[in-house]
Symmetry: C2
Subunit: 424 residues, 2 copies
C-alpha cells in the first residue's frame, strides 16, 4: 500500500510543516513542503485540506479484553471489586470472548487515534490474533505469575507463545510478568532465564500502590524495583507499568538498568492509587510512555485523556503550573519508547506510518495558536477524522475501514458479557 | 417548535426508560414508554434507533470569550501569564471580538452536549447577544470589581445591563462580582444593595487559591466566605466559583446562606490551584454544579472531562475508590442548581427541553452495562450526535443547525486573535 497525503499540516519535532507525506508499506518514505512528481503510483491520494497529520498514540499499558468489564460493578472497594467481580468474571472468559472483546478495544483505539499497544493478558494467542486480524500493532505477553505453574511449565508456555506470536506481522511477543507480589522465587528465576534466552527485556506491573511497596519492603527490606533488579529480572532492561510509588533510588536503578516507566493516570486516580512522580521520572532520564490500563479500571481507552492528565496532574502535584510541558508529555504518548518501540516517536522518513488526522476546524482547535499544546490541553477523540495503522487507513470519517462487521461485533460482545454476568 | 423523539433510551432519575419524549417550546411535555396517538402535529419526528437521550450539561462557570486565549502562551507562571498575556490581551478586545469569540465557544458547547452556562465577562451585552443569537441559555453578569468605578457607577451600569439583558429570551442577567480580593468596601456595598434591589443572589469567584484565602485571613482575620457573608453579599444566597480552599466552617456558612458551589477541576489542576473538597461540600448539603472556567486556563470547554475529573479526583484526594459516585456527580453536571437554574436537573414532564443524544453504538459505550457510570467514566464529546437547546435542534450529526456560518466565524476569530497578539 502506497499513500500520498497532501495539503497537510504535518506535526514534526521541528515544528509544523505545510506539505506532503508519503508512505510505502508500514513506513514513511517522503516528507516535504514540496510535492515532487517522480512518484505517482500511489494506491490512494488524500487531500487533507489543511488538516493536521500527527503521529498516532502508542498505548503503553493495557489489558484490551477487559472491555467486557467496562462500567461493571462501579463504586466498590478495590478488594471487593477484584475478588467478587473481576477475578470470577475473568475465570469465565473463553478464547473466543477475548478475541471479540479485543476487537472492540481496537475499534475504540482506532477511533481515538491509537494504533499500537503494549498488551498483557491471558488467552494471549486469541488476543494477539485479534490485533493481527485488525492490523493493530502490539507487543504482547501473558503476564506470567505463580498460577502458571513451575519453572518448566512457565518456560514451555512462553516458548510456545513466542513462536506462535512472532509469526504475526504487526504483533510481537513480549516477555511480561504480572508483578512482584504475584511471582515467587521460582517464577522470577524462570522469567529471568527466559529474558536471557529470548534476549528480551521484562515488562511488569511495578509499584502501582503504596500497599504493594510497603509489603515488599516489609518482606524483603527493599522496594519492588530494587527487589526485581536483585533477582536479575531487569538484566536486559525492562518496562514498569504504573510506577506510582517509585522513589529517587528506584528511579536511579531504572535509569541505570534501562527500565522504562509507563504511567496510567486515569486508572491510578479511579482506583485511588495516587499520582506518579512523572517529572522526577523524566528528569531522572527514564524513558516514559503513557497507557490507559484496562477498561475495567479506567473506563475509557482514551489516550487524549491520559496525556492531558499526565501533564496537568504534575502541575497539581508539584504546585507548579510549569512543572511539565505539554510538548514533552505528548512525545511520551506517541513514542512507545518505554516498551521498546522504535521509529514511532514522530513523523520523519523511515518512521512507522502510524498516524492520525486531526480536524483543525473543530472549535476546540480554534483559534490556531500552539498546536501541540492545544492537542494535549484541549484535544479529544472527537477531533480524530482518520487513523492510519502500519500504512493502512483503518478509520475514516466515522467508519472503521478494515472490514469490521461492527454491528455483529457488538452483538457478540454484549451476549458474552451477559453470559459471564449470569454465570458468576 | 414541537419535537417527537421516539425509539429512545431516556435517562431519567428513575432509570432508563425505553420510549418516547415530546417537547413543546422550551419544555418537555410528554415522556412515556408508550406512544399515544393523540398528538401528531409535531414539527419533526426523530427516530433515535435506541440511542440515549440525556439532559444536556449546564456549564456553571465560564468566561466564554476567552476562547481567544486558548493555548496562547502556555507554560508560564500564573502571574507572568496574567500580567504579561491575559490582561494586556483583554485590554484590546472589542465588543465585536467578544461576540464572535463567544459564538466560537457556543459551537464548542453544542458539539459537546452543553446548552446552558453561567457566564461572567466584560463586554457583557455583546456576549449576551451572542448567546441570544445562537439560542444558547445563559445567566450572565459582568464580574463587578473596583475598576468599574464608585457606588453610583456600579449601580447605574448594573441597572442598564439588567434591563437590556432581561429582554432576551434564553439569557438572563445575573449579579456577578469578580472576587473578594478585587472588591473594596464601596464595591461590596454597591453589590449588596443591588442584590436586594434586584432580588438576586450574588455570584463570585470564591476561595480559588490558597494565597487568596491566606491573604484575606491576614487582612481581615476571616476566610473570604465569612468575610463576604459579613458584608451582606450572600444575604439572598449566591454562588461561589471554584471553592478549592473552603473549610468546614465555610461549608456550614454556605449551606446556611444558600450559597452554591461550582467546581472547575481542569482549570484548578492546570493552574496548580488544588482539588476542591467536593465530597465535603456535597455532604455538607451545599448545592454543587460543575463548570469549565474559560478556555484560557482549561483549555477545552468540555463538560465530560470536568465531570469525570470531579468524580475521580475525590477518589484520589480521599484515598477512597468509592468517595463519590459517578451518578451523583453527573446530576451536578446537568442541573445548574448551584447558579439557581430550575427544572434542568433531569428529563421529566415540565423540565427544560435541553438535551443531548448519545451514540450508544460507540465502542466506549459498549458493552451496555451501567449507562450513567459509563457516561461519566468513559463518555466523551465524540459520543454526542445531537444537541437540543431550549427545544430547538442546534447540532446534528456533526453540523451546527442554527445558521452558523462556521467558516466565516473561524476567519473572524483567527483574524481578531492575530490582531490582538500583534497589538500587545
Amino acid at each position: 500500500m502506497k499513500l500520498r497525503i497532501y495539503n497537510a499540516k504535518i506535526l514534526t519535532k521541528d515544528g509544523i510543516i505545510d506539505g506532503e507525506l508519503r508512505t510505502e508499506g508500514d513506513r514513511i518514505v517522503y516528507l516535504s513542503p514540496v510535492s515532487t512528481l517522480d512518484w505517482q503510483d500511489w494506491d490512494r491520494e488524500i487531500d487533507l485540506h489543511g488538516n493536521l497529520l500527527v503521529p498516532s498514540f502508542k498505548n503503553a499499558h493495557t489489558h484490551s479484553p477487559m472491555t467486557f468489564l467496562r462500567s461493571r460493578a462501579e463504586n466498590m472497594l478495590l478488594k471487593d471489586w477484584l475478588y467478587k467481580q473481576v477475578f470470577p468474571a475473568e475465570g469465565r472468559l473463553t478464547d473466543e470472548d477475548c478475541y471479540y472483546f479485543t476487537r472492540l478495544a481496537v475499534a475504540e483505539y482506532y477511533m481515538g487515534g491509537t494504533t499500537f499497544c503494549c498488551e498483557m493478558y491471558g488467552h494471549t494467542e486469541a488476543v494477539a490474533q485479534a490485533f493481527e486480524d485488525t492490523g493493530f500493532g502490539a507487543y504482547i505477553g501473558s503476564g506470567i505469575f505463580d498460577f502458571d505453574g513451575g519453572y518448566d511449565d512457565i518456560t514451555r508456555r512462553a516458548e510456545e507463545l513466542k513462536s506462535k506470536i512472532d509469526k504475526m506481522s504487526r504483533v510481537k511477543y513480549a516477555l511480561a510478568m504480572h508483578a512482584q507480589y504475584t511471582c515467587g522465587d521460582e517464577t522470577l528465576r524462570a522469567v529471568s532465564d527466559l529474558s536471557k534466552k529470548f534476549s528480551l527485556p521484562v515488562m511488569t506491573h511495578l509499584s502501582e500502590t503504596a500497599e504493594e511497596v510497603a509489603s515488599c519492603k516489609e518482606q524483603y527490606g527493599v522496594s519492588p524495583v530494587k527487589y526485581l533488579a536483585e533477582k536479575g529480572i531487569f538484566d536486559l532492561g525492562g518496562t514498569g507499568f504504573h510506577c506510582v510509588h517509585v522513589d529517587d533510588e528506584d528511579i536511579r536503578i531504572m535509569k541505570k538498568l534501562g527500565v522504562g516507566a509507563v504511567s496510567c493516570p486515569c486508572s491510578n486516580l479511579k482506583l485511588a492509587s495516587g499520582i506518579a512522580p512523572l517529572k522526577k521520572i523524566l528528569d531522572g532520564g527514564v524513558e516514559l510512555s503513557i497507557g490507559t490500563d484496562g477498561a475495567a479500571s479506567n473506563n475509557a481507552l482514551d489516550m487524549f485523556r491520559e496525556t492531558y492528565l499526565a501533564t496537568v496532574l504534575q502541575k497539581y502535584l508539584l504546585s507548579d503550573a510549569v512543572a511539565v510541558s505539554a510538548e514533552r508529555m505528548y512525545d511520551c504518548a506517541v513514542s512507545g519508547k518505554a516498551f521498546g518501540l522504535e521509529k514511532a516517536d514522530g513523523l520523519y522518513i523511515g518512521a512507522l506510518a502510524d498516524m492520525a488526522v486531526i480536524d483543525m476546524s473543530a472549535p476546540n482547535m480554534q483559534p490556531v495558536t500552539d498546536i501541540r499544546s492545544n492537542l494535549v490541553y484541549a484535544g479529544g477523540r472527537q477531533n480524530v477524522v482518520m487513523t492510519i495503522s502500519g500504512g493502512r487507513i483503518v478509520y475514516e470519517n466515522g467508519e472503521l475501514t478494515y472490514g469490521e462487521e461492527y454491528g455483529a461485533l457488538l452483538e457478540k460482545c454484549n451476549a458474552a458479557a451477559e453470559r459471564i454476568k449470569n454465570e458468576i
